[in-house]
């Protein structure tokens, strides 16, 4: 599939911002199964300094400084992206989860894609014993890892209610777990906390979902804004597999990846420090349109 992706993000501030630093993680990059044909990032007001770079995990970063006093900042991202269909391995062919765990514990790769980075508690994903015990039910001894992870994903979809506004961007996994509700970020964090709790590597993906699904399929949750799902490490051979607990879907050619990290904090689309007093309002609009 080829998609045109557009995202407009606008901050409106209660008082003039004199100076601001921001880190933007909004531009998709080429990845396995995904090619970016063109992309552009437009910022108003114009930054006094702008640097492009990569973070540790290889995601595209744009660092900007704004020195012109402003009460509104608008960021427009546009990209054309080719996404290949994903062929997930049959779950029963993946190794037993304990085997994957012991292998990763002894890993000798510290590079950006090494599963070792995705084993531990991270800023927004603490390892909660209750979530761990919930996850353990999907992993009977000796079970193939992808079978267990898929089961966990389906249980989350089934046991939790998708409800915008039930949680906020800083809700912790134990909080949304106790509420049994939340949005894509919460479901991804819960699934990650469960997998890591029993020693399995899991990563957080931010990206987009196709806005109007093909084949008259039902509209998916998370298509009108940025979406989040999970990558599970399934051993050297199968590698990382994308699972979307919000929609109980294997992430395929309707998912466009923007950034990968340990949790939301690693991939937050816009981090920033502004020098101002008072509050702010955020408006985000997203469209993901197939063009062929």
């Amino acid at each position: 599939m080829i998609y045109d992706v557009r995202q407009t993000t606008a901050y409106t501030y209660a008082s003039k911002v004199a100076y601001a630093h921001h880190v933007l993680r909004l531009t998709p990059i080429d990845r396995i199964g995904q090619r970016v044909q063109a992309s552009a990032l437009d910022i108003v007001p114009a930054p006094v300094a702008r640097r492009e770079g990569r973070d540790f995990f290889g995601n595209r970063l744009t660092r900007i400084d704004l020195a012109e006093p402003h009460d509104r900042m608008t960021i427009r991202m546009a990209a054309r992206i080719v996404v290949e269909p994903v062929v997930a391995p049959p779950p029963e062919t993946t190794p037993a989860w304990e085997e994957v765990r012991d292998e990763v514990f002894a890993a000798t790769d510290i590079g950006a894609t090494s599963p070792a980075h995705f084993l531990f508690a991270s800023r927004q994903v603490s390892l909660d014993p209750e979530i761990r015990d919930y996850a353990r039910e999907s992993f009977a001894p000796g079970w193939p890892i992808l079978a267990g992870a898929t089961d966990l994903m389906r249980r989350i979809k089934q046991d939790f209610i998708y409800e915008v506004g039930a949680t906020t961007v800083s809700t912790t996994p134990p909080m949304s777990f106790a509420l049994r509700r939340g949005v894509c970020q919460d479901f991804a964090h819960i699934m990650i906390a469960g997998l890591r709790g029993i020693g399995l590597p899991a990563a957080y993906v931010s990206g987009y979902l196709r806005t109007v699904p093909g084949n008259d399929a039902p509209i998916l949750h998370g298509a009108d804004a940025m979406h989040a799902w999970v990558l599970v490490w399934c051993g050297e051979e199968a590698g990382w597999q994308g699972l979307d607990p919000t929609n109980a879907l294997i992430a395929g050619d309707e998912h466009v990846v923007v950034a990968i990290g340990r949790d939301y904090a690693d991939v937050a689309p816009i981090d920033g420090v502004v020098f101002a007093s008072g509050g702010q309002r955020l408006d985000v609009s997203v469209s993901v349109t197939p063009v062929g």
Binding site: D102, A106, T108, G197, V284
Partner: protein, 837 residues
């Protein structure tokens, strides 16, 4: 073997016979713990050779003199304001510094061994850090598990691939060591994040060497000052630009070791800053000061790495400097230790360092570290499964894992069954989070308890500083002494005390002439660099203190009038009460309330924001965040003022209790003023305090004049302006309006007059760095000059309300103009998170 004979060899004439008896008496009750190495006494019960000279001299003092000396040391520490803070303490209280007075004596030969071993270890740790943030070869070659690096909360990914511009991750390194029963030293842990203790060690040294100057000198104890001098020179050398300065970056006064940050900054002549004092611009890192942005090229970091930059590290940090990581990447700033160096503190590394040493250094570790097994490896997990009861279980990292944090370490066998089961399950699930360590016992050293020496377990923290390409080791250390005789664990937070370590020298020691302050080094403080935040707080301390004084004077004037049986006092009482009400110091709605009640309200913490307890607390609060700027005595005066006015007044009218309280508080205010004047640096900081006081006093006096400059109230006005004596000396007659107003408003020689305040304000402003256009007065100067001129060009009898009001408003505008000119950086950084769904 001569050690054991020391006692007897002294017994050859009468004098030494006597000395021998004294020593025997001193050691009489001292019994080393069974199976534990004692530093002072050998297994046969005789003092070890390198302790003998110290013990003999100590014994010669006699118990009474020993106690006197030891309390002198305590007094010194108290007077210097040494404290630490306990995080777990809900009240966040500061604790007095607990000094165990007997130093640990270390022989020259043993010191050489320790030194060499620690320098070797520093080299190994530097190599590990440089590999973890560089090529990652140690992991790729299977010498370090990837999970042990990747899972380390202090492995700061944005710093991967960023080599420190100064060439070193570690510049200040502390090691905790303990001695096992076999007499060998073992490394217990490494401190690389922001090692604390060196400043406290220095204070301990000063206190002790002052209390026992004769013994200290005679023993030839190695001085620690040269170590600090070398470190200071090294950090200074790292700044490449002429205008650069070294800053100590502190998390702030709420940190448990803030005292040490402030103390070291002062001792080394560096500028103490918090994150909000710094700003990152395109071309580097700068301190916001009252004279504009000043370059900071070297930071001695006492703030945890992860908290240092909300933009690229922990976004929730309110303590960091946005953009600092980028400045490091751009090689604009040297941070000691590097951001990310905290990773070396992980206990899990102890499991691998012994095997890494031969590979990295081509030598075994000269001083072993505690035997440690990382439980991420299946084999280690299996091997340890049956040993857990005798092992210490602990987190593999400095931060604990979720279910069983084990930040401190526990002996498996000491756990209750339920907890033990949970921990076993956690290890089974995620062994990567845990280590098992051999349970170590520590050696004991003497501590003075109840008039005699008793053995106490201790650990020793030693400090290393990178100088050039090598390392210097501080000859001394920070000893933590346990309270009881359980030799297994020592933790200062749990109420242990601290001791000095004396490393004996075989040759003469340098610097002996600096007594009685042998460790004092004289270094010039950077001139004219006053962080804006500090200046802002100083200004407000000045204003609050002065407002407190004015309120106290009003209350006193009120009470004085209620004790006079004179009926003519009634209207005055009402007018004074009204002014107190207008100042939010008392009720405004009870015109006929009894004066004593109103005075009581002004002195009690009620709803009235202007009441004394509120003002004193505000002054203390503003001063607390810049404590390092005050002498311990001045700080104590503020604490005492707050405590005094917080204490409940006796019930009932009790005019005498009220006036006693007022007098007491006024005395404290006066002593604070004196102390501030005497002890504060005149380079900027003091001027802002003064400006605050002068502005507030000017405003208060204007208000007094507006209220009381009529014939019926002139006495009150003189009293409030503390000018009765001057007036009587000058006029020997009843108060008349013109001369009173002249004295209180215009007289440039009366330190209470409005004109005098403006005069002082002009002087201070002129002395501050000029930020205006060349040849023009700055905005604050213009306001002050205009107001002063208006007063200089008016006759006493022409002074009316309009002029006084205008002056009062000018003073208020002045405060704002000073903020705009010098303190404008009080913008606040708000890290933000974008919502999504």
């Amino acid at each position: 073997m001569s050690h054991g004979l020391g006692l007897m060899s002294l017994a050859c004439d009468n004098a030494s016979d006597h000395a021998g008896e004294e020593l025997a008496r001193l050691l009489a009750g001292y019994r080393p713990l069974p199976g534990i190495f004692d530093e002072m006494m050998d297994p046969r019960g005789a003092p070890r050779g390198h302790w003998q000279p110290f013990l003999s001299m100590l014994a010669a003092l006699g118990t009474e003199e020993i106690e006197r000396r030891f309390s002198a040391a305590d007094r010194h520490l108290r007077d210097s304001g040494v404290f630490y803070r306990v995080y777990e303490d809900p009240a966040g209280l500061e604790r007095a510094w607990p000094l165990s007075h007997v130093p640990l004596v270390i022989s020259a030969a043993e010191w050489e061994e320790l030194k060499a071993g620690l320098i070797q270890r520093a080299g190994l740790l530097e190599a590990v850090a440089s590999d973890a943030y560089g090529q990652g070869k140690l992991v790729r070659e299977g010498r370090l598990p990837a999970a042990l690096i990747a899972g380390n909360p202090d492995f700061l990914r944005p710093l991967v691939g960023v080599a420190p511009s100064s060439g070193a991750h570690l510049r200040f390194y502390a090691v905790d060591v303990g001695r096992a029963a076999d007499g060998r030293w073992w490394v217990l842990g490494d401190r690389t994040q922001a090692p604390s203790g060196a400043g406290y060690a220095l204070e301990n040294r000063i206190a002790l060497s002052r209390a026992m100057p004769d013994i200290y000198r005679a023993l030839r104890v190695n001085r620690v000052a040269p170590f600090f001098q070398a470190f200071q020179a090294e950090l200074t050398r790292l700044g490449r630009q002429d205008d650069s300065r070294v800053c100590v970056l502190t998390p702030g006064p709420m940190n448990e070791t803030y005292f040490e940050h402030a103390y070291l900054a002062r001792y080394l002549g560096f500028l103490l800053v918090e994150g909000q004092d710094l700003t990152v611009r395109d071309d580097g890192v700068f301190v916001r000061t009252v004279s504009g942005l000043k370059r900071a090229e070297v930071l001695l970091r006492r703030l945890d790495g992860d908290f240092s930059d909300p933009l690229e590290l922990n976004a929730r940090s309110r303590l960091g400097v946005p953009g600092l990581v980028q400045a490091v990447r751009d090689r604009k700033v040297v941070i000691a230790n590097s951001l990310g160096a905290g990773l070396l503190e992980a206990r899990g590394l102890l499991a691998f360092l012994p095997a890494l040493a031969p590979h990295v250094l081509a030598a075994d570790l000269a001083i072993p570290n505690v035997a440690t097994w990382w439980l991420g490896h299946k084999e280690a997990r299996r091997a340890m499964a049956d040993e857990l009861d005798t092992m210490v279980l602990a987190s593999a990292f400095t931060e604990g894992a979720a279910e069983a944090p084990l930040r401190e370490g526990v002996v498996g066998g000491a756990l209750d069954p339920a907890r033990r089961k949970r921990i076993a399950q956690a290890i089974d699930d995620r062994g990567i989070d845990y280590v098992a360590q051999e349970a170590v016992t520590l050696s004991t050293m003497p501590a003075w308890r109840h008039g005699r020496l008793e053995p106490r377990p201790f650990s020793l923290r030693l400090f290393l500083a990178k100088v050039g390409t090598g390392w210097q080791v501080m000859p001394g250390g920070f000893v933590r002494v346990a309270d009881g005789s359980d030799a297994r664990a020592v933790s200062l937070q749990r109420g242990a005390s601290t001791a000095d370590a004396w490393v004996l020298s075989e040759g003469p020691v340098a610097d002996t002439t600096l007594l009685p302050t042998p460790e004092r080094i004289v270094i010039k403080r950077a001139v004219g660099v006053l962080p804006s935040r500090a200046a802002d707080n100083l200004l407000w301390v000045g204003r609050y203190i002065e407002r407190a004084e004015a309120t106290l004077r009003l209350v006193r004037a009120l009470i004085n009038r209620t004790t006079e049986a004179d009926e003519t006092a009634a209207p005055l009482v009402a007018r004074i009460s009204a002014l107190l009400g207008a100042w939010s110091a008392g009720p405004i709605d009870i015109p006929h309330a009894r004066a004593a009640l109103i005075a009581r309200a002004a002195l009690s913490r009620g709803v009235d924001e202007g009441s004394l307890p509120h003002l004193a607390a505000a002054a203390r609060g503003a001063a607390a965040v810049i404590r390092d700027r005050f002498s311990p005595d001045a700080w104590r005066a503020l604490v005492r003022l707050a405590a005094t006015v917080e204490a409940p007044l006796p019930e009932g009218p009790a005019e005498s209790a009220i006036s006693e309280r007022v007098d007491q508080a006024l005395r404290i205010v006066a002593s604070f003023s004196g102390l501030a004047q005497e002890n504060m640096s005149q380079l900027g900081g003091w001027r802002f305090l003064e400006l605050g006081r002068r502005i507030e006093r000017g405003i208060a006096t204007c208000r007094f004049v507006r209220q009381f400059a009529d014939d019926a109230a002139l006495e009150v006005l003189l009293e409030l302006a503390d000018s009765q004596i001057t007036y009587r000396q000058r006029y020997v007659m009843v108060a008349a309006r013109a001369p009173v107003v002249d004295l209180v408003v215009l007289d440039p020689n009366n330190p209470r007059s409005v004109a005098y305040q403006l005069d002082k304000i002009e002087q201070h402003l002129a002395a501050l760095h000029r930020r205006g256009v060349e040849g023009r007065l700055t905005a604050p100067q213009q306001i002050a000059a205009a107001a002063a001129t208006a007063l200089r060009t008016v006759e006493p009898d022409a002074i009316d309300d309009t002029l006084i009001s205008a002056t009062e408003h000018a003073l208020m505008r002045l405060s704002e103009a000073i903020a705009a000119a010098y303190l404008i950086h009080n913008e606040r950084a708000e890290p933000r998170w974008e919502a999504l769904d």
